[in-house]
Symmetry: D2
Subunit: 386 residues, 4 copies
Amino acid sequence: MTELAAVKAALRTQAVETPSWAYGNSGTRFKVFAQQGVPRTPREKLEDAGQVHAFTGVAPTVALHIPWDKVEDYTALAKYAEERGVRLGAINSNTFQDDDYKLGSICHPEAAVRRKAVDHLLECVDIMDATGSRDLKLWFADGTNYPGQDDIRGRQDRLAEGLAEVYERLGDGQRMLLEYKFFEPAFYTTDVPDWGTAYAHCLKLGPKAQVVVDTGHHAPGTNIEFIVATLLREGKLGGFDFNSRFYADDDLMVGAADPFQLFRIMYEVVRGGGFTSDVAFMLDQCHNIEAKIPAIIRSVMNVQEATAKALLVDRDALSVAQASGDVLAANAVLMDAYNTDVRPLLREVREEMGLDPEPLAAYARSGWAEEIVASRVGGEQAGWGA
Amino acid sequence: MTELAAVKAALRTQAVETPSWAYGNSGTRFKVFAQQGVPRTPREKLEDAGQVHAFTGVAPTVALHIPWDKVEDYTALAKYAEERGVRLGAINSNTFQDDDYKLGSICHPEAAVRRKAVDHLLECVDIMDATGSRDLKLWFADGTNYPGQDDIRGRQDRLAEGLAEVYERLGDGQRMLLEYKFFEPAFYTTDVPDWGTAYAHCLKLGPKAQVVVDTGHHAPGTNIEFIVATLLREGKLGGFDFNSRFYADDDLMVGAADPFQLFRIMYEVVRGGGFTSDVAFMLDQCHNIEAKIPAIIRSVMNVQEATAKALLVDRDALSVAQASGDVLAANAVLMDAYNTDVRPLLREVREEMGLDPEPLAAYARSGWAEEIVASRVGGEQAGWGA
Amino acid sequence: MTELAAVKAALRTQAVETPSWAYGNSGTRFKVFAQQGVPRTPREKLEDAGQVHAFTGVAPTVALHIPWDKVEDYTALAKYAEERGVRLGAINSNTFQDDDYKLGSICHPEAAVRRKAVDHLLECVDIMDATGSRDLKLWFADGTNYPGQDDIRGRQDRLAEGLAEVYERLGDGQRMLLEYKFFEPAFYTTDVPDWGTAYAHCLKLGPKAQVVVDTGHHAPGTNIEFIVATLLREGKLGGFDFNSRFYADDDLMVGAADPFQLFRIMYEVVRGGGFTSDVAFMLDQCHNIEAKIPAIIRSVMNVQEATAKALLVDRDALSVAQASGDVLAANAVLMDAYNTDVRPLLREVREEMGLDPEPLAAYARSGWAEEIVASRVGGEQAGWGA
Amino acid sequence: MTELAAVKAALRTQAVETPSWAYGNSGTRFKVFAQQGVPRTPREKLEDAGQVHAFTGVAPTVALHIPWDKVEDYTALAKYAEERGVRLGAINSNTFQDDDYKLGSICHPEAAVRRKAVDHLLECVDIMDATGSRDLKLWFADGTNYPGQDDIRGRQDRLAEGLAEVYERLGDGQRMLLEYKFFEPAFYTTDVPDWGTAYAHCLKLGPKAQVVVDTGHHAPGTNIEFIVATLLREGKLGGFDFNSRFYADDDLMVGAADPFQLFRIMYEVVRGGGFTSDVAFMLDQCHNIEAKIPAIIRSVMNVQEATAKALLVDRDALSVAQASGDVLAANAVLMDAYNTDVRPLLREVREEMGLDPEPLAAYARSGWAEEIVASRVGGEQAGWGA
């Protein structure tokens, strides 16, 4: 297989999971702007996800969020997904929207609230059993707003205790992905604020516990690719929540704010063997003002483009330049790949997969956008909290 | 008058405006946790504000937010305020919660939306005429989320045009306070992102246009007291929106995150003559998880303590040390004031004003908290958007 | 002229000024790593700059730094520059390396130090008269390290006074470019910390005073293209100091850290008419660990590539998408230009200019690097402070 | 023992190590401003450190930096220290000022350079044997400036290998303290950029490897006290390098930029048992523009004040408020301690220790400052690199 053929083969097998909630309404604390045609049910979200996969060919699974996507019969839901061309993916827990969680969930000072939170997580594993999902993705809104509000260290003890109980419940082939976040919604301390905290907990829990990197969850200036390289080296990178940001956790389309950073991240994934391992590539975005399905298609394409560039890096030439200490030559090797316009290559890959080379144009022509606006009338649109 | 007497006199005449919306529910994009006893009407907000003033003695006015505080009869509202011991303060506009404002208000690409936004601002001036308010506080959520989304420069032109129309409408003794904000809810560009932009617009508009500094609206590391000193030097500091933050626009209680910064800001106010001028001192906070009225009382007290320390700086000794280039001595003069425990002094001031020296304890004993929980049942609680 | 021809014509006339000091040694506070072949005299710097221009064709001028480039006879220096194919450019002042400047220069508490600083600036204008330079570039290291150290507002008064005296001295066709910087070497206050401060001073001084944007001199997250658009709209953008940074004022090669940001900046320049006006495009970089001449060639090429992409934006399509509020379409128009590989176009432009299409390879083949290592032996290498 | 007596007892036994290099000249990349009377030899640094301890009573040890403090006979140096009332403390390595280290030291791509770096570290352990020092403090300037420059993961492998060799060499009772730093002097990647990386390496190395927290080495907004609490919980907090910063690694006097943060850090130390354990409290500062000895005295006092406030926190009341979820009450307990003026208490403590209650005034009266200016004439002043 030629090198280019290998690159193409890798691109054909890429899988980017889309999140059910990105198809629903979202917004800021100031306002949620509703959009027409937004899904009202988990099934309608799967229909939209099916569109994204139909046009991109690389978005075969859909992450669920419990309780937003809670249904009576997960087997039926999984079957419906398959009918729409996709499969159910990671289960995302929610321990931040119940009134009991005002001061935290798994780290709450009261044992009763912690019990409730852990029970919810255990329920999520039950759902994983039903859906056949591999990953339980855990993000905790836990933290404090004011110095002194709660005991920083005590909260870590409670966190460790709760996670351990859930870890024990995991079946063979199931994983727990622990997400960290710099801040928000907690404004003074966050109980899992950085990769180090997530790593330390996962290390103690065991091999089924892995860290998930949300690209929007870091302090200003943080070198994310360094974290990716480090977690891969430690065997502790479970997956990504992709999105992009200029300021805080803006949840914009991945690749929209700093495409060079996304390329560098994907290069470390490739270099560290993450592209062919169990690392999960997921989107976690909010399309507050732009059309949702095309935004998700665009996001998937942005990941593809960054991946293609990363795969095109001449790693032999890079190693030679690095070993010789030639700073400019080594940088030039990386930049050569980045500066390449990979869109023609991806058009070829899509045609070889039997897809339209231009997913966005093809989606626009498909009439789906008009169809859902016409048909999804009445009912309550899905959204955060819906 | 001795120096201490002068400090006390200054502290007695201090006025911190509380915002009607801080008495209502608030939260993050993830969740608004409702609290018991929260006001359901503008009048109930005024009642709570009356409590804050009753116990602190230095919170005589209440800022209104339109349309959240829209009423039929502002004269009656003003009269009700007076009955509760307070007066109506600044009028705050809202051009961010209508569906039309998804892509902006006064800077929106469509003329019709801009017209609607400007009309709202003109209506706010009408309300100012009715309430006798001096200040129109303008904060725009306008901006863009993605590079290319709109024309950065064109939006400035639209902003200038809209502001000019509103400026013309201002009566004698009325002012327009233009607030800047680093980001949120816009995530790529914000149309008034920094003091420089607000200043440039206000300068062109004229003397009735002034800049307002929200202490939570800056890039990480920004030296806010420098901005305060500069705006006072330029005669363009209209007022403050006080709150505190560790990360973004966290809207925590002022003085809770960095009390030394608050002291430095108040010192520049004192040094620049801002304490005895038309600078408006307002709170703009969200008490998402803590009890609202005590949080506001505490915030007012935090401003008082910072002010007291700023007034206690030995400015003569400071000038001598500064002029001689004695870095450590000059710093020590400032720190001596900051390290002073001014709570005994403030207790005295309160007693001299006929108040309980301990506002929080006195409020707790008053029974108000229990009374509103018992009486404010049913109806819709006030909150952002309510 | 076709559109592509117009783009090429614009690229052929682009002019990027290189700084004399970038050819000398530089480093961090921890260590300056000397490099072989580094110039020892202003003439040798001009020789190196001549190489950069010879291979890129778009670096026709060289900025001088006084006193680092102080010579007896500036006419002779200008003549020597011309012999090496370049011209003398902006004069950069230095008021930060004399022992007297420990607590500032033009803002120093002592009048004698301020006098010395202003005299130096006036001397720089004398040199401009001799060199025929248009621009005096002013960057002040002035500020304080500790709260209380000096009077923030008083320093602004001194700054205004000093600048006014220098402004008066400017001849016809001469300009004063005032640079702002977020922090460093001052760690608490900086006397010109942001574009707003520079703008306010320049506005009062008059039309010959313009703001210069150093791309490394902002708070984390600052939207630089917004500032560029705003200053162009105000008629106050004097020029750029290009470099790139991940953290603070890292002074890396422009385009190395965030090439998408550089593109967005260049787009605002093009959109705002800055490309065909008096805006000066200068590099201000430190090649601490990489070979200096190739790093500067690469930097010039990076500016060219960003400019080419900016020129390729389909502005009509962009305007249509923006006016219609189609967020994704508008973003896509911008991204289409950015994702284009413009290196073939630039190779063509170079060939049409009679240059080698690959400046770095051509420079490497030229033998200049080996020549200077062999010949520049002995003497004192140029560097900051040398 | 009453509670106050316990607080006083704790304050009397506090030990803050001062760094030999803080007595020498320092500066920024722009300029080092030399000061009169600065030490020229390790012995003169010890003399100055002796003054700091003589007046504060809580600075009994001095950190050495190799090779800046390299001497023939460490036993003699230790004896000289004792004569001046102090003892030798941690040994700090230097792998950043040799020309070989341009691209790194222990992580350098070339084995020969790594060998040299590791040999230096082993030499430092030899010196520890001679001085009786417990701690080897490791800070590496290693990293890269440009994407692609070197292999991020490969550098971690080299780091691990080098550290392991040094770890093996440690004797009983000796420790390796690994310091992390966000950036500088490397501007793209840093090989130990955060606590997570330092922690992961220390964990693998074993119990003698511990993390050191430099308070100036974090991304903007990082919650340092969270890291302190976490490392104490993990048994991996080896010590502190205290200083303060507004922007980057400003190395200002500890407590000068954010005294409330320092208090919160010290509270977590107290709460986590760190105050009575093996946690090393060291200063790492640069007194670029202020007089050095008084700056260090002031810094030690600032640590004392923060410690006193932390010890005064009513932990029982805090626990009650935290357990009940009373956000405002819990915050108030912490703030009560912070708002206390502890200077009178510290004056008492000093008097009980037989010291002058006002260390700075006593030092000023002592004549030492004048003495060293008069006597330390000629020779080469100590400084970074000297």
